[in-house]
């Protein structure tokens, strides 16, 4: 019994310690971000590998989720004769929650794990040490551009996800169910507020982008420099990112609720 308690205590302390390490790492990367902006080509390259390469999965997922929201919503809305508000349902769900959250989860799985693996591999093959010995700061040259690329890509991907989702909802509503296109859009425009829905969703996606990017780069930089170490780190990135994003979503939503 005692050993179980001390084990739990030990694990908790380790987790808190780790969070502290991640924060310190984040500060370190921010401090070394000068090169990322003076040589923006480095960041551009990383935006390509994180953002552009994630486009397909984001656009397709967005479309599918929008369509599913439309289909699911239709069944319930029909009972109250409110099918015409399907656009409102789809738009609000996507802009406030699904867009930022699902995009963050997909981004963590695809781009985040790739970043962790890349940095981890460079650590395992001593490339980071070699760079350090050549008087080039590996944090500035390798880590920071990847962090900033993630922060820039996430909001853009979330917006694309939401836009595709709304289009998916439109397809279901207008082409399948037969709702009048004008009614669909006007209902949506009336119900969606820029400040509460679009802007809040954008803020969420930025916050999630920071969280996922910090976790991905940290796990790569901090991993045990062996093959198993890199593999474990990639798994940790996806899991930690998912949990962190959902937790942050809870906190942000609580703050953003109208009237609170």
């Amino acid at each position: 019994m005692i050993s179980l308690l001390s084990k739990i205590g030990g694990r908790t302390i380790d987790s808190v310690w780790r969070i502290g390490s991640i924060m310190r790492f984040f500060m370190l990367v921010l401090a070394n971000s000068g090169t990322s902006f003076s040589r923006f080509g480095l960041v551009r390259r990383e935006i390509f590998f994180s953002g552009v390469m994630s486009l397909i999965i984001i656009l397709v997922s967005g479309l599918f989720i929008g369509m599913v929201l439309g289909l699911q919503g239709f069944e319930t809305l029909q009972k109250y004769g409110a099918e015409e508000t399907m656009g409102v349902l789809v738009a609000l769900s996507l802009l406030r929650e699904m867009g930022p959250v699902v995009t963050a989860l997909l981004f963590a799985s695809r781009a985040g794990s790739a970043i962790t693996a890349e940095i981890g591999l460079m650590k395992a093959t001593e490339q980071l040490k070699a760079m350090d010995m050549m008087a080039v700061n590996p944090i500035a040259r390798v880590v920071a551009p990847r962090l900033w690329a993630g922060i820039i890509s996430m909001p853009l991907l979330a917006a694309l996800f939401s836009a595709m989702g709304i289009f998916g909802g439109y397809l279901i509503a207008v082409l399948m169910v037969g709702i009048d296109s004008g009614v669909f859009w006007s209902n949506m425009e009336a119900a969606v507020s820029f400040r509460y829905d679009v802007l809040n969703g954008f803020v969420k996606s930025v916050v999630f982008g920071v969280a996922v990017s910090v976790i991905a780069t940290f796990e790569g930089y901090d991993c045990t420099p062996t093959a198993e170490g890199v593999s474990a780190a990639t798994t940790r990135t996806v899991v930690s990112s998912a949990l962190t994003v959902l937790l942050l979503d809870l906190i942000l939503t609580a703050f953003m609720l109208r009237g609170l």
């Binding site: 390509f48 953002g51 552009v52 853009l156």
Partner: protein
């Protein structure tokens, strides 16, 4: 994967992303739709505002002409005081009436403005004299029950 190709794709990606953001903000979110108008304030007093909330629409003939800016309670006269902000380009006669209505059965609560016949127009600071309070469902049921109760004995007295 050379430099130029990467830069091209990144440029396309960023452009698409910004476009999506813009679309969401302006088309879907209706940003800038309501900002540009100038407003003037009038006041209306109700015995019961029902479910009226701040920022609720003010409509006349079904068209949005303003929004509810403030709701206060008059502790002396025990009435609800509602501040309305109307778009300057819509003028109403001084004897217009304001009613609290519900759009649809389960819809949102809004204020409907019915124009009067006065030549003089409402200006900032004026008060709308004619105000129709909200229909409270419980009162309605109560009235109905009362009506039914008073009907029955009268009918039996007639048959006697």
């Amino acid at each position: 994967m050379d430099r130029k190709t990467i830069d091209l794709w990144v440029g396309i990606f960023v452009l698409l992303g910004l476009l999506a953001l813009g679309l969401l903000a302006f088309k879907v979110g209706n940003l800038g739709g309501e900002r540009e108008a100038k407003l003037y304030r009038v006041e209306a007093r109700f015995d019961n505002i029902g479910g009226l909330k701040l920022k609720a629409p003010v409509k006349s003939a079904g068209v949005l002409v303003g929004r509810v800016k403030g709701i206060h309670f008059d502790n002396i006269k025990f009435q609800a005081v509602v501040d309305l902000e109307l778009y300057e380009r819509y003028e109403f006669p001084k004897d217009s009436s304001a009613s609290i209505l519900t759009s649809g059965l389960l819809g949102e609560v809004y204020i409907g403005l019915e124009p009067g016949g006065d030549d003089k127009k409402l200006v900032t600071g004026d008060r709308i004299k004619l105000a129709q309070s909200a229909v409270v469902l419980e009162r309605l049921i109560g009235q109905f029950m009362l009506g039914k109760a008073s009907e029955a004995p009268a009918a039996s007295s007639v048959t006697k």
